[in-house]
Symmetry: C2
Subunit: 139 residues, 2 copies
DNA sequence: ATAGCTGCAAATGCTTTGCAAGGCC
DNA sequence: GGCCTTGCAAAGCATTTGCAGCTAT
């Protein structure tokens, strides 16, 4: 009688709903992985692997769809640091990154950890959409 | 009698030589395109197209080889802004960029145009290799 | 002579697409 | 019901690799 599986936390359902995305089984599972525990930086392949580990049935194409859907609705932020892969960051607030060249890992930096004293004015007719600071470190 | 083609400017020959790269016909031609006129930001495909336009016989594989050889010898700097392509910058001094999202173009910013007031310390055991600031603008 | 380069074609790796079947509202 | 979503396989791109033939030193 009692359902064996728990419902997703209301915040995740709410989050998808607010974003205008249908709460399908796949999206719910992926959102749970992504938003369920602190800030994360994942590649499509990593998320795919993690989903398989957690016995979530989802195709790679759907992973890509979900990552892009989430990104376009503001639930994720895409970061291109290396040409080979894209990272998706669950932290969509204004912030910067450490990039570990050896491992390919990203680490968030608080906005207070990087202070920019001056920026050039945007070229005429242009608007500054975002300022990305990546501190590349070799470990 | 008089040779129809001029010799490459000595600085380009010298540049390749100093970098420990043999001055082959292809590398000389590409270096001339790249370093012959101010700072540039090119993708492999753009350089390939430009070479063809200038009647330089070179294969795409060689373009990639040359770009990477030049980069590893410090003649170019590789920049990954979008996952689809890599840019190679002929300006290898410390500097930052405007990135025009619509056109995909890059523009150098002088070091004096972006002042960073504070940076976090590198994680222990790590060294800061480079700090990249990309100002994304929408035109 | 010989280590380094070049170019072709094939292979790779990541990402997207076409489209039929299935799921949400 | 109708539109959105999924999944598979195939296609697409940028980039790399294998390797035979060429070239600089």
């Amino acid at each position: 009688m009692m359902p064996l599986k728990r419902w997703p936390s209301p915040t995740i359902l709410q989050r998808l709903h607010d974003a205008g995305l249908r709460p399908t089984r796949q999206r719910l599972a992926l959102a749970k992985i992504l938003f369920g525990a602190g800030d994360r930086h994942v590649t499509a392949e990593e998320l795919f692997t993690e989903a398989k580990t957690k016995r979530v049935k989802v195709s790679l194409a759907t992973i890509y769809n979900a990552l892009h859907d989430f990104t376009s609705r503001g639930l994720l932020r895409e970061i291109s640091i290396e040409s080979e892969r894209s990272y998706f960051d669950t932290n969509v607030t204004d912030h910067h990154h450490f990039f570990f060249e050896r491992s390919g890992e990203l680490q968030d930096l608080g906005l207070d950890q990087v202070k920019i004293a001056s920026l050039p004015a945007a070229p005429k007719g242009a608007k500054i959409a975002r300022v990305d600071v990546v501190i590349r470190v070799t470990d």
